[in-house]
Subunit: 333 residues, 2 copies
DNA sequence: CTGTTAGCGCCTTCAG
DNA sequence: CTGAAGGCGCTAACAG
């Protein structure tokens, strides 16, 4: 690998001159620049990115941490992140947090290999984030509640969304509503559960722990939870799945048992993933403003990078998407 | 940010001692090591990744270049890449090639910011790849044909897949088969088209350019191409979409016009993306061994990193997935 | 406009 | 086992 030294030597100039020329500094004559450029080309010179990062102390990149690169992303969210990042002339790289403390993600966080990071990976511990947060290193978390001076929290209003979902069912006369939950350690799940319980309570419908079944946000867990539900003697009138993936698994379980949705039972999901529109029946669900969340996250990073003050908590609201998985027998109201 | 120097000073040892201690070198006494570790902790020391990369010249990371981080990936492929990478103790990062020559992707390629790279991004030019290829920098391309000593090509057998698709239709007595193509500059598309033409030719079915409509692999283009097809007076018996995304767009166009699939027209896709199973009707398509392709790609990278010799071209075969979008009126054969 | 020079933070011989 | 010193490749004052 040729270094800038070689280029300078070949071009017959000083190293700094070569560096300036290669970095399009204004203070180099066209002739010298050309000479340097030719030397560089002929040596097939490529600068060593690490060396220049080391000097610059600025990477011009922001990293997005995902729990699984191949996972069912919120691709809209990523798009938001991506667009805002590149609109600001920054690079975006994504890395996965698989592997716990040894993961690439943790390395990026701890070693500050980027100018800012957005986290959407439940398997990154709060501790790592807290450890890494520093005044000049903005971290925005999209998936948890974290109080710290230098971490910013962007959250969609899960509680309100769950309340909407539950009320929608309640409004249609259903009272027995099962809740298939996400993993217990999930902040999102916890908020959704409390939205569900609040809505029930407000209408004086008792919460029954028999109707709360634990899943883990995967399609399979939705499938098996639903099987369990079916195995109980008595089917509820509706089921609220804490996310769409599980709802889709649930739909499959119902289909296999010949239970018709929404005629025999209503189902509602949460997230509005792409698939939801295509399953049968199309899933009624709560949409999260995913693009907005991603875009806002990066926006905030740039604001703090620019030395501006920002809030440490943002709340985005959800929307109910009405499709065909909920039976409509609301006659009056 | 505390540096190793600060740690050494606080621990009352030399810098090198601190470095050794922190890197678990054998030649440090337990007592000293403990002292150093404590100093590091109390200073909240984090090593500067760039500086150490600069020295080490090895990054222990491989990068996956995607045309669009939020795009409809082949998540199976990514999973293959991810698993093999982490099984080898390497980090994986993904970056997008949006932005052409200024993209993060190009930077990674040219500046050798990783030990190896796998490319799945049609918008990266061959030239950039060729420029970056070096004996010690394995690049494997999954989406193009590229002859170069230091780039490895893994490819699924698009031609054979397209041939299978076409024959499947032909076998069912259909002769008028439209082909909705991908972008002209796509290598995959080109191979699929030629598989289609070969199959036709072999059965002495004339190729009609009227039946070849240009799309660009997006759902929208499938939708609009199909509209164009419908607008022509006479509907063919079947249409072969060069990928599933377009087929799904096509299905929608047919549905809007009240044209029933497969009763009025048969459709077949290519890729077998996740959605294909869920659309209505479920799409018959050609599955690519995506996980295998991704896993193989990274495998090969590690082989060359280990100094082993590898082929420069690998071909993976496809499989026909029979679902319900093709009418079955094959009586005999 | 160009060359000299001093580090960026870390790792690693090489002597003690 | 430890300390001093050199250097990875590049950038950015600072002088000419």
């Amino acid at each position: 690998m040729a270094t800038i030294k070689d280029v300078a030597k070949l071009a017959g100039v000083a190293i700094s001159t070569a560096s300036y020329a290669l970095n399009n500094s204004a203070k180099i004559s066209a002739a010298t620049r050309k000479k340097v450029e030719e030397a560089a080309r002929s040596l097939n010179y490529q600068k060593n990115g690490f060396a220049s990062d080391l000097k610059r102390t600025q990477t011009k990149t922001i990293v997005l941490i995902l729990s699984d690169l191949s996972g069912p992303y919120y691709s809209e969210l990523i798009k938001g992140v991506q667009e805002v990042t590149s609109a600001n002339g920054y690079d975006l790289i994504a890395c996965s947090s698989i592997g716990g403390q040894q993961s690439t993600a943790v390395k990026f966080l701890k070693e500050k290999r980027a100018d800012g990071v957005v986290v959407l990976a439940h398997n990154i511990t709060d501790e790592v984030i807290l450890d890494s947060a520093r005044p000049d290193f903005p971290i925005v978390v999209l998936d948890r509640n974290l109080q710290h001076d230098h971490v910013i929290q962007v959250e969609v209003d899960n509680t309100e969304g769950a309340r909407m979902a539950t009320n929608y069912l309640l409004d249609r006369g259903m009272k027995e509503i099962a809740y298939i939950s996400g993993p217990n350690n999930s902040h999102d799940n916890e908020r959704r559960l409390s939205g569900y319980r609040e809505a029930l309570e407000k209408r004086h419908v008792p919460f029954s722990s028999r109707l709360k079944i634990s899943g883990d946000f995967t399609r399979d867990s939705g499938y098996f939870s639903t099987k369990m539900l079916i195995a109980q003697q008595h089917l509820p009138e509706a089921v609220f799945f804490a996310n769409d993936e599980m709802a889709i698994g649930g739909l499959q379980a119902f289909a296999e048992k010949g239970i018709r949705v929404p005629d025999d039972i209503s189902v509602i999901g949460f997230d509005d993933i792409q698939l939801s529109e295509y399953v049968s029946p199309p899933l009624t669900t709560i949409r999260q403003p995913k693009y907005e969340a991603g875009a806002l996250a990066v926006h905030l990073i740039f604001q703090v990078l620019a030395g501006e003050k920002v809030e440490d908590h943002y709340n985005l609201s959800t929307e109910l998407i009405e499709r065909s998985s909920v039976k409509n027998h609301s006659y009056s109201r």
